[in-house]
Amino acid sequence: MKYALVTGGSRGIGRAICVKLAGMGYHILINFQSNVEEAEKTLELVKAKGVNGELMKFDVSRQEEVDGSLGKWMEANPDKPIEVLVNNAGIRKDNLLMWMSNKEWDTVMDIAVDGFFNVTRLIIKQMLYKKYGRVVNVVSLSGLKGLPGQTNYSASKAAVIGATKALSQEVGRRNITVNAVAPGFINTDMTKDMNEKDFKQLIPMSRFGTPEEVANVVGFLASDQATYVTGQVISVNGGLYS
């Protein structure tokens, strides 16, 4: 049985990734932190693809929750190796740096960077044993270009891009690929406070993207079509930045 874990899988891009991987035949572990109603909707969409799904509630930034939930599941299910890990959990707490609180900085960094570390360290060992694995980190245009008002978010995503490149070199010889996908402006809850009209002049394709357009690239990287692609950051941004 093939399993995939998607962190932050209850809504937005994470949900679209869950559905995409389910369509590729993966059973999906849907991690979420708080919104159980949305997570259950994602689970329904996954099951509609004819595969199994499970909700897994934990805060990726808290080591003890990751070990207690995901770690225990892995121990209890040795016959269900997780072949695909999508580190998607993330939040925005925008502010100008001069006004940014410690909490705004720490929360964003903890979820993106510590979250990547806590979850990936647990799963990579299993992938090393199996000599197979696909890790896809959902980063951001913000981590490549830097966006004003997002020094925390930009820094956190840039950190994960660095980790992507380093880890890909550590595990490549055991047939594990590690890549990142960097979405630009995508229509989700995270961008609902942004006026698409104001921004689309900046975007060569003149519109925001959809979660499914990001999920398609994640699906490609997780598939056997991308067996020789590793350590890369693929932008999905309508040509906004390269």
Binding site: M74, P78, P81, K125, Q126, L128, Y129, K130, Q169, E170, V171, R173, R174
Partner: protein, 93 residues
Amino acid sequence: MSIPTTPAAMTKEEIIEKIKGFLVEEFETDAAKITPEANLRETLDLDSLDYVDLVVVIESNFGFKVVGEDFINIHTFQDFYDYCFNKVAQKTA
């Protein structure tokens, strides 16, 4: 993940043979070069990334956890055998 079980009655000779077997297979080394006094790192031509493979083969063959510091005092194959004897003994105690 399949954590192997180590037979409690495994002798030191059996452990050595098992180690030699997986090292030859994983690192494509001439078995004749694996002598107790030979240097582990030089004989297997290990770079830092090779330790990923070494840890994986140890853990998957013996089922005990290996941490990086364990290798500080391992220089020769005999050191490595002794380390594995102790870990296997602790696991089966």
